[in-house]
Amino acid sequence: MNHLDNAFLLVGFLEIALVMFMQWEVYITNIIKTFSISSYLIAILFLIVGFINKESYILVLAALTALTRGWLIPFYLKRILRKDKWRARETSPLVGISSSILISLLIAVVGYLLYSLTLSNYIKSNLGSIPITLMLQGMFLIISRSSTFTQLIGYLIMENAMYMFGYIFPELPFIVEAGIVLDLLGVVMISGAIIRLREDVIKNGSEEYTELKG
């Protein structure tokens, strides 16, 4: 295993630790900050990869990651949150904190098993289990929480996991990567608008709507 793979493993484990912390955290500002740290970590990883492999294109991606995922998106989300302080703590997660701890640990095991059963023959190292685990953790965050902010962070974690896949597999053409970043920004902006609307009309998280049943 070369130095780059070691760096990837280190960042990967830190990412998983951070996302597990998010599963257990109820203060949304802390979740947003943790997401920001996890994005910066990915940017650092790409920075190292870019420098060692001398690929300017990876360096641009690292800068884009730090700028959009590390700074801009968390900044935007915190700004929305500041307007509605009562939203800062999630009061009614759909899965309790103790169950979340247990399930997020189980997801790490399931991610590894899933990888062993599917992709391990194709990828020659154990690196592939990290993005899969991260993706499942992101999905679980979307399912287990009722706060729109946390659900959006869950989606963004899935997006970050995709970026980590980019290390194992060949990088997509730049025009596609740029399109993905644009779409990501679009989704966050639209989500921000919907979060504002949702807060205006819904004060207690997801309620039961008879019109949306069946």
Partner: protein, 461 residues
């Protein structure tokens, strides 16, 4: 010459630009003009040869999707002018609504002409961004909740298809369709597993947007709560555009395992729609399940290929016209009855005769009744299922289709031919639009040789 192929996109793009300017007060007229421009240029493209460049890949299927999207676009714009006047608590002004509508159509038109799977992913995700706020036009709690569910479920689902794009790129070292179509036969055996996963994940991911089981949960919420012209665009065009991406994946990876997987998801989708159509309380939601039913059977046809593929295309086109008509009509019912519930809407055939009878025929058309194009499509697909999977699976598929037929038409009959609970009302002339669309759904049957010709020979000859 290439410029002509981009005309539909340029028209809708021009419409978006002009509608965003609040000082121009003609957003409705502008949208009507550009939508007709997109339709006429799409029809003109039918007569041109196929086009392959670095960025664009326009074959017979793309051309059919261009015409279908533009035709529903025209109808949705005209119906919107009537419908949005009746929305009480609008989220935004009319010019912003038409800006979003034009941009939404622009992203859909883009999706079907691109020669790069990665950019197709980008365009499909862009349809989420451009369409989300349109769902919440009728600004209330349930609508905003439905919008949020749409954004989060579809975006998370599309991440899965992005993994598929990465897998496919790692196997083929290209994302260009023109290249992908040639490369599969020469693929080394060691790559087969990763391309299989690429295909499967692509179907799940894009299937989320197409309303395919198990990631369909956003669809009844969004279709049920969006304004009627937007529900029409979603059901008639957006879902097929996502199926279009799946078809491109099936073309690029003609792996038997991937096809069986697509078939299974299609079958589970129609099973779900069959059971859910019986216990629906809200009529728009019920027709949303009918969309899952139609997309499910269309996916089955795409997985089988050959004449079942033609069957799928016939279903997609006839469903686009019939379902958009049905959603327009439900919009008219909602305006006049002021209720979303099936139980509270009685005797439409007496209070609004043109709407009532059209809704009855629309319901028949979307459930695959002869002589509508959906029937011919279903028939072709059932024959192909029989030839590939045998009699039991064919019977099972037929049973699910029959259940959805009974469930949906029974509820529609209850609304249309029961004793009225409202006074007779004066019909608005706008009902002509859904009637034209229903006639087009009927015309699909008779145009099937022509559609076959465009699909396999590339142009209207």
């Amino acid at each position: 010459m290439e410029f002509i192929y981009l005309l539909p996109i340029l028209f809708s793009g021009l419409g978006s630009l002009l509608c965003i300017l609040p000082f121009l007060k003609f957003e409705e007229d502008i949208s009507v003009i550009v939508s007709f421009g997109a339709l006429f240029s799409s029809i003109y493209i039918l007569f041109l040869p196929n086009l392959t460049t670095d960025f664009f890949y326009i074959d017979g299927l793309s051309k059919i999707f261009l015409v279908m999207t533009s035709a529903v676009y025209v109808a949705a714009v005209i119906f919107s002018i009537y419908y949005i006047e009746h929305i009480q608590n609008k989220l935004f002004q009319s010019h912003f609504y038409f800006f979003l509508l034009n941009t939404f159509v622009l992203t859909m038109l883009f999706t079907v002409i691109l020669n790069n799977l990665g950019l197709v992913w980008v365009a499909v995700e862009a349809t989420t961004v451009t369409s989300a706020l349109l769902i919440s036009t009728e600004n209330d709690e349930a609508t905003i909740e439905a919008t949020w569910r749409y954004v989060i479920i579809v975006s998370a689902g599309l991440i899965i298809s992005l993994i598929a794009v990465i897998f496919i790129y790692s196997s083929f070292k290209t994302l260009s369709f023109a290249e992908l179509l040639k490369l599969y036969p020469g693929l080394p055996a060691s790559m087969e597993r990763i391309t299989y996963f690429g295909g499967v994940l692509g179907i799940i991911g894009f299937g989320t947007k197409a309303g395919i089981f198990p990631m369909h949960t956003w669809l009844p919420d969004a279709h049920g709560k969006a304004p009627s012209p937007i529900s029409a665009l979603f059901s008639a065009v957006l879902l097929p555009v996502a199926l279009f991406a799946i078809e491109r994946i099936l073309q690029a990876i003609p792996n038997d395992g991937v096809k069986v997987f697509a078939f299974t998801l299609g079958l589970l989708s129609i099973a779900l729609a069959a059971f859910m159509s019986f216990n629906q309380v809200y009529y728009k939601r019920m027709f949303a399940y009918s969309s899952i039913d139609n997309m499910g059977i269309a996916l089955i046809g795409l997985s089988l290929g050959g004449y079942a593929f033609v069957g799928s295309v016939l279903i997609i086109i006839a469903h686009a016209f019939a379902k958009s008509a049905t959603f327009f009509l439900t919009g008219n019912v909602l305006i006049n009855y002021e209720s979303w519930k099936i139980d509270e809407v009685k005797g439409i055939s007496k209070t609004l005769p043109a709407t009532g009878y059209s809704l009855f025929f629309g319901s028949l058309a979307v459930t695959g009744t002869p002589p509508f194009g959906t029937f011919l499509g279903e028939l072709l697909i059932l024959v192909a299922i029989f030839n590939t999977y045998g009699v039991m699976i064919t019977l099972l598929t037929g049973l699910f289709l029959a259940m959805a037929f009974i469930g949906i038409n029974y509820q529609t009959l209850r609304m249309v031919f029961s004793e009225p609970n409202r006074e007779k009302k004066r019909e608005n002339y706008i009902v002509v639009i859904p009637i034209i669309n229903l006639l087009l759904a009927l015309a699909v049957t008779f145009a099937s040789p022509l559609i076959y010709n465009i699909l396999f020979n590339g142009a209207w000859k």
